[in-house]
């Protein structure tokens, strides 16, 4: 195993310097599961999901379409019920052991749970249609939700506060309903919160955590899992798993709420959401109340969370900046119907943006109108990157000029030549990437609230443009860079090196595709870099309000130099902005 580059347990890439060649996450997971595991090397909770063909044989009345996903508790397949002409989700639970006594006991409990779940008929809960045993598997047949999970939405950073305010009350309704029917979810997390194409919120996997727990207790698998997901688990769920009641779900909801607002998890001594985002400061008390360590100090009912969130959403915010999606005139006190409509609208937009994110690069174009996705993006969070010639394409307006800015913003980017090889969207903390990047090279970029802004990708060929596509210079413009002092790196990753060339950095205002330099002492920095360097760094770059950063790379060197016309021939190269307020001195020579 040592020397291989992925963890045989979880499959994640393994760093060459991982401790003793072992996956650090799995090592800590072993630590987290202390006291609940019996360490049977013969059984793993994460068995390979059965292939579609095997499942198809077991379920002759279904058309098994594809494997949708897998987890520690089983696998989910997309299927079709021909007689009802509807799509369904088939959840296969843990492989059963071949022990008749255990199987019978388990079957009874499983049936009991499934019947309880089937009674949970609520618009915000994924419905259970059927259950049973097939072959050596237990299964649940469930409503199929055609849409992304909240996790997929969050992969691009936090949500706009309005989006969170639209989603949270729906989660609360579902939880309240389930709790009234005696069902505790026990594993509320973004992966289990789905958004369908109408923007409806649906919670999946109610009660599945409990089923898995019972399977483990019944000895049907030896390796018992920690029930729940560590980040989202209430403290009592870790410490006293058998005393958990519905208030554990309220804590998990608080974690999800916090993550939606800030893009981060509430770990350690965390700051209130309003300090990390544009969230309404009045939401702080709601979030913190859900995250009380003592269950008795928390909200006692999910409906109370819903009431408080809706009250705040329905009254004017004090410190919340206006956004196109939330005009203040709509947010009058007591006007709940409008708020709900607004919520649905925002959610629909969020889903539309997500679809763009996921599918645009792969399919070339989507059905969702791009203009609809652009319009509601809050401008301050946007951070655009342009490549290619700076000719404005006025058919694609990105946004109107703000007060004091020289003109509207346009998409000035050349059409990418190779969309099919577009790299996957990047993950950053902070705001979601702008649609421009999605349309282009899927170069993402957004602000990490507490630190650096990065632009990179394992497949980023941006700096190869000069040699491969245009034979000219590489140009990158960063818009909406918050004012401040930075150091900016252009680097080749790992053993890759940059090649000889001029690296020029300009800070200034942008006006219809032209960069005009400002009277900024740091406005232009030039670096002649020698082939083979790891990176070029511009230190102490000051960006004033309204200014953009332009990076021009002019490859040099004789044409005979291997890669001489290429800035970086690396498969992995990137650009990184790091806030550096301390860099008040010139870099050492």
């Amino acid at each position: 195993m040592t020397g291989s580059n992925s963890c045989p347990t979880c499959g994640r890439p393994l760093a060459p310097h991982a401790p003793h060649g072992l996956c650090p996450e799995c090592l800590l997971h072993t630590g987290l599961s202390a006291g609940t595991q019996t360490d049977d090397p013969a059984v793993s909770p994460e068995t390979e999901p059965p292939p579609v063909a095997e499942i198809a044989l077991l379920f002759p009345r279904l058309e098994i379409i594809e494997l949708l996903g897998r987890g520690g508790m089983g696998a989910v397949y997309k299927a079709r019920q021909p007689n009802l002409d509807r799509l369904v989700a088939l959840k296969i639970l843990l492989r059963r052991r071949q022990n008749p006594d255990q199987d019978t006991a388990f079957d009874e409990r499983f049936a009991q749970e499934a019947r309880t779940l089937a009674k949970l008929s609520h618009p915000n809960i994924v419905a259970v249609y059927d259950y049973g045993q097939a072959g050596s598997y237990s299964f649940l047949l469930m409503e199929y939700v055609n849409g992304p999970t909240l996790r997929q939405l969050l992969q691009h950073g936090k949500l706009a506060p309005q989006e969170a305010l639209a989603i949270v009350p729906k989660i609360c309704e579902a939880l309240q309903f389930a709790h009234q029917h005696g069902v505790v979810h026990r594993d509320i997390k973004p992966e289990n919160i789905l958004l369908d194409q109408q923007g409806l919120v649906k919670i999946a996997d109610f009660g599945i955590a409990k089923m898995a727990d019972e399977i483990a207790q019944a000895g049907l698998t030896h390796e018992r899992q920690v029930i729940g997901t560590p980040h989202y688990m209430a403290p009592e769920q870790v410490e006293k798993p058998h005393t958990v009641d519905h208030r554990a779900d309220i804590y998990s909801l608080g974690v999800v709420f916090y993550e939606m607002l800030t893009g981060e998890l509430p770990l350690g001594k965390f700051a209130p959401p309003s300090q990390k985002s544009q969230a309404d400061p009045r939401l702080d008390s709601v979030v913190l109340h859900t995250l009380e360590k003592e269950p008795a100090k928390r909200y006692q009912q999910a409906s109370q969370v819903k009431t408080d969130v809706e009250t705040i959403a329905a009254s004017p915010a004090r410190n919340k900046p206006p956004t196109p999606a939330a005009p203040k005139s709509d947010a009058t006190a007591g006007n709940r119907k409008k708020i709900l409509l607004l919520g649905s609208f925002v959610l629909a937009i969020a889903v539309a943006v997500l679809y763009l994110t996921i599918f645009f690069a792969g399919t070339g174009s989507g059905d969702t109108p791009i203009s609809a996705a652009y319009a509601p993006m809050p401008r301050p969070q946007r951070f655009n990157i342009d490549f290619g010639p700076w000719q404005p394409d006025k058919s694609k307006q990105v946004g109107p000029a703000a007060a004091g800015e020289p003109g509207d913003y346009w998409n000035t980017v050349a059409t990418p030549t190779n969309k099919t090889n577009a790299p996957p969207p990047l993950k950053f903390a902070g705001g979601g990437p702008s649609p421009i990047e999605l349309e282009m090279l899927n170069l993402g970029g957004s602000w990490n609230n507490s630190g650096s802004m990065g632009v990179t990708s394992p497949m980023l060929d941006a700096f190869r443009y000069p040699a491969d596509n245009h034979g000219g210079d590489a140009k990158v413009i960063l818009h909406h860079v918050p004012p401040g002092r930075y150091q900016i790196y252009i680097y080749g990753h790992g053993t890759e090196r940059l090649y000889y060339g001029d690296y020029q950095l300009t800070v200034g205002r942008r006006d219809y595709g032209r960069m005009t330099t400002s009277h900024n002492l740091d406005a232009i920095q030039n670096t002649n870099w020698v082939e083979g360097s790891q990176y070029v760094c511009f230190r102490g770059v000051t960006v004033a309000p309204g200014e953009d950063v332009k990076i021009l790379i002019r490859p040099g060197g004789p044409a005979t130099t291997p890669g001489g016309r290429t800035v970086c021939d690396a498969m992995i190269c990137g650009l990184q902005l790091i806030p550096a307020p301390h860099l008040g001195f010139p870099p050492p020579q």
């Binding site: 310097h17 630590g31 001594k269 790891q534």
Partner: protein, 253 residues
Amino acid sequence: MSTTTPSGADCNFGQNPRQAVFATTHWSVVKSAGQNDTTRSQTALAHLCEVYWYPLYAYVRYRGYSPEDAEDLTQEFFVQLLQKGTLTRADPVRGRFRSFLLASLGHFLAHEWEKSRALKRGGAQKMVSLDVATAEQWYALELSDQCTPDKAFEKRWAMALLRQVLDRLESEYSQQGRQELFAVLKETIAGIKDGQSNAELGSRLNMTEGAVKVAVHRLRKRYRELLQTEIAGTVGTPDEAGEELRHLFDALR
């Protein structure tokens, strides 16, 4: 790139030849080093610094300093930490050793560095042995890992902590002459592979299947104990240990 030794240790960077296991917590080491000058407490603290220096170094690099500056800064930071009374301000009630180190380093970078910049490059006093060449290799490999310096620090802290725990575990097994057992079974600490056969492991170790099962159980149990001990040593109160473990788990994601 690190090399792989037959024993499975992925590289010798960050390991300490002195495999002393501390009975005291990191906080008590810090306190005693802050209050008196005994060789023992200084040695103990120096050991602690050697285990955890890379996260600090990486933090400095993430803040944008060159490798040379980062080395000098890290060394100078340790000088301040070990010799100049910074530690008397350390207070276990304040929480985690990790947070204390990071806050001290942040303060040092903001205030102390300017004062000591008169030092020539490479002129900083050497307190601990830093393998900067290896550190730079690691750092280069991790550069695409987009995160804040604080997050970078936490991630590397978790790695250093795990390395320390595994080093101790290996050391314990070696002392009992069971290094081969450790080398073969250590991958089961990270998780139990589907379909992995006890019989296959047993044939490699010349042990029965049942004996392998027991050995795996014991190894994982001891690992958990050492991990708990190591983490407990870095937090102010025992109650915080569980939270710290979860925090580190999150930091790695």
